[in-house]
């Protein structure tokens, strides 16, 4: 059965919005640590990453050595890496054609959290996953949990 919802805390949603606004006009990016059960993904830690893209206003890219260390942090804490997040400083809500192309090429079917920012102000946060072949992004509903 496909997982069908994400559970994320209010404070993590606020942190995502603040990080995206602070990075503007560049893209912020990071990893999503957490756990999954039969029906849902549960985000438990945001792990900000440096954006080493040569054009950070137009894209993001992780440093692979920092990513290696982050993967070890997740394992040591007993978390899985459920996916990653990045911001769109051009206010685009949801995945861009570049996101789709890279996700397909790299068989990246983790969760993609996308934070849209307009003129430096948070606009929208959405969660997506590539499904099928060659793959289309499907929007995953999230449940905001105030108690985590």
């Amino acid at each position: 059965m496909a997982l069908d919802r994400v559970i994320i805390s209010s404070s993590h949603l606020q942190d995502l919005a603040q990080e995206a606004e602070a990075a503007f006009p560049r893209e912020c990016c990071g990893l999503l640590f957490g756990k999954k059960d039969e029906a849902s993904w549960r985000f438990q830690q945001l792990r900000p990453m440096r954006n080493v893209s040569l054009q950070p206003e137009r894209g993001f890219e992780f440093d692979v050595r920092e990513q290696l260390h982050a993967m070890r942090e997740a394992d040591a804490a007993g978390y899985e890496i459920l996916g990653h997040y990045h911001s769109h400083p051009n206010a685009r809500r949801g995945p861009s054609p570049t996101d789709l192309q890279l996700a397909r090429t790299r068989l990246d079917n983790g969760l993609w959290v996308i934070v849209a920012v307009a003129a430096g102000q948070w606009l929208d946060t959405s969660v997506w996953q590539l499904r099928g072949a060659p793959g289309e992004f499907v929007r995953i509903p999230f449940v905001e949990n105030s108690f985590e």
């Binding site: 893209e27 990016c29 893209s53 054009q55 137009r58 894209g59 993001f60 890219e61 992780f62 692979v64 050595r65 990513q67 290696l68 993967m71 997740a74 394992d75 899985e80 890496i81 459920l82 990653h84 990045h86 769109h88 400083p89 051009n90 685009r92 995945p95 861009s96 570049t98 996101d99 890279l102 996700a103 090429t105 790299r106 068989l107 990246d108 079917n109 983790g110 993609w112």
Partner: protein, 91 residues
């Protein structure tokens, strides 16, 4: 026998195992052993041509094999290999 650490994103293909012991005297041999053991992993590691996918970084311990001998990098009995699938996107 060398150990390969499996990233979370690929553990669906290794029966949720986080690390796997594989035979191999080089990185290429170890990864081939891994793909033989878990065939669904192969397309995530290798191109159809058999070449290592260019968006997968391979570390032996702390060293990126890109700066060693790439897939020909020799392995020792207690080496640990880590696979790091590159992550990127854009507007």
């Amino acid at each position: 026998m060398p150990t390969i650490n499996i990233p979370s994103a690929l553990r669906n293909y290794t029966a949720q195992r986080a690390s796997v012991h594989v035979p191999g005297a080089t990185v290429a041999e170890a990864l081939e052993s891994l793909a033989e053991q878990y065939p669904e992993l192969r397309r995530h590691i290798f191109e159809e041509s058999g070449k290592l996918r260019n968006f997968v970084s391979v570390f032996v311990g702390e060293e990126n094999v890109r700066y060693l001998k790439r897939e020909a990098t020799p392995l020792h009995e207690n080496d640990t290999i880590s696979l790091v699938p590159a992550v990127a996107g854009g507007v």
